[in-house]
Amino acid sequence: MSMSPATQQEFDTQSLFYNRWKSRSLRNSLMNWVSGSIALIACLPLLSLLGMVIYRGSRALSWSSFVELPPAPMQEGGGFGNAMVGTITMVSIAALLAVPSGILTAIFLAFLGPDSKLAEAVRFVARVLSGLPSILAGVFAYAMVVLVMKSYSAFAGGVALAVLMLPIILLTAEQSMRMVQARLIEAAVGMGCTSAQVVRRVLLPTAFPGILTGVLLAVARAAGETAPLLFTALFSNYWLVQEGQLKLAEPTASLAVFIFNFSGSAFDNLVEMAWSGALILVLMILTLNLSAQLLAKKLQR
């Protein structure tokens, strides 16, 4: 900055070399250290959380955890088998609702009418919905399903989870369909394919890994949600299948609500159960997430 013509006569060329004790350099390395340690601090919570969940969760974990009903206070053994079945059932209901409609809507957004006003509006709504607090999805399902059916149910829980899954599936599916090369689609159209044929033969097969990634992420998110299930599926101490019947219209246990209910307990054995449940839930979700990421990585190649 100070290289005005006047200084040209006696210009100190040394000043052009890097000098680590200059205030500019010092400030630079100070910032390196400060921001580096902050970034490092950001990693600590995850390590601590995973460590605690694995350490405390594995203590009470046994085979009976997976196949037995929740124990009473002070009772030996017991498990959360019904909660795992409940979570899987409700996430499946949600996926049945959200996956087909999400993918078909994404086909509209990416292929049938990408520049239409409707598509713009759908994208905006989907983005806003993806930021919807999960408890409001629960309030919505409570008003739509619980109040109408007059009972807490697995179905209501599924609807609440579907509301949360839909925007994730929709937005990621649109993204991956847009990545399909235009020339593939143009070639198909040039051969006289109808839109439906292009979608079935070209668009969906090519975009499939990306769509699957989105679905896996959405399922992982739904499996861990507690708030929307609190007053839609409630909780139950019994199996979902009773006397050979699938009781979808009755209160249903889920792993997440199990953890919430048991974590506040005054009894040690119930708290230990909650930690074991947390370990299983975290393992389920991380597996889903990692497979989604591996898929995405494969895609990039």
Partner: protein, 317 residues
Amino acid sequence: MKNTIGTSLKFERTIDSAFRRVCWTLALLTILLGGLIVFEIFYHATPAIKKYGFSFLTSSQWDPANEAYGVLPEIWGTFYSSVLALIVAGLLGVSVAIWLTQNFLPSRVEWFLKTVVELLAAIPSVVYGLWGFYYVIPMLRPFAGWLHEQFSWVPFFSTPFTGPGILPAALVLGIMILPTVASISRDALSAVPSRLKEAAMGLGATRWEVIWKVVLPTASRGIGAALVLGFGRAIGETMALAMLAGNSSRLTLSLLSPSNTLAARLANQFPEAGPSEASALMFAALVLMALSLSANVFGVVINLRARYKLARVGVAR
């Protein structure tokens, strides 16, 4: 022969138009779903809106026995905990985003850091609550007790630490929204064209001079959007707060005091609510929705504008 081709063509066309119609309808239904969510909550809140009106927002009572309801302490608690969480997440998240985008790290370490942040986003809220309750609160206890003893004249530390409260809730909440802030800031930072950075480096600027004077100002809108969206997420976060905030409605500045938020109030009260309380809770849900939707819409709009502006000068990726 000609005839079969004719019929199969007709068949394909019928399928095609049906398929288009189904996709179009589902797209429309997505918008309707958004509208329906707003409508349903509004509809069920109507009795409470008529009965309490604006005073619902300014009253501090929550008394089902006398049917007197107000959510002022919850609104305060929601804002207070979210702002504190945003300070934590903003500091950590933007630093992480800088470290991920400005060539600080070898690509393996970069991948590790990125994965850690992504996994943070994947951990369920209820597990954060469990961890916060059995790990963060006991860890804070001696420190918070010392703060109260030494600085009880400062309003932030004016009450004794009883366990669940604003400080642990805001810390855990900050960690929970860190991934949102970090990933959106990262997108914003990596959208800064490298020729701008190279130009500054060519003039002899140090790395942090480039970051402070070129990269951060260029990405400022995107980072702003990241903060607003993170704030929106913090407002609606439920389970960790229901477990860590203390479920006690107070209007206080003290970080050590128990508190409550709108979402935590819903989670704790809804399962046992009678009809009049349910309507009041729907009103609270409406307030929560208004807060979080406005933060979200605002954030989405800033983010789109930031990209649009970069695209207009022809420098977007």
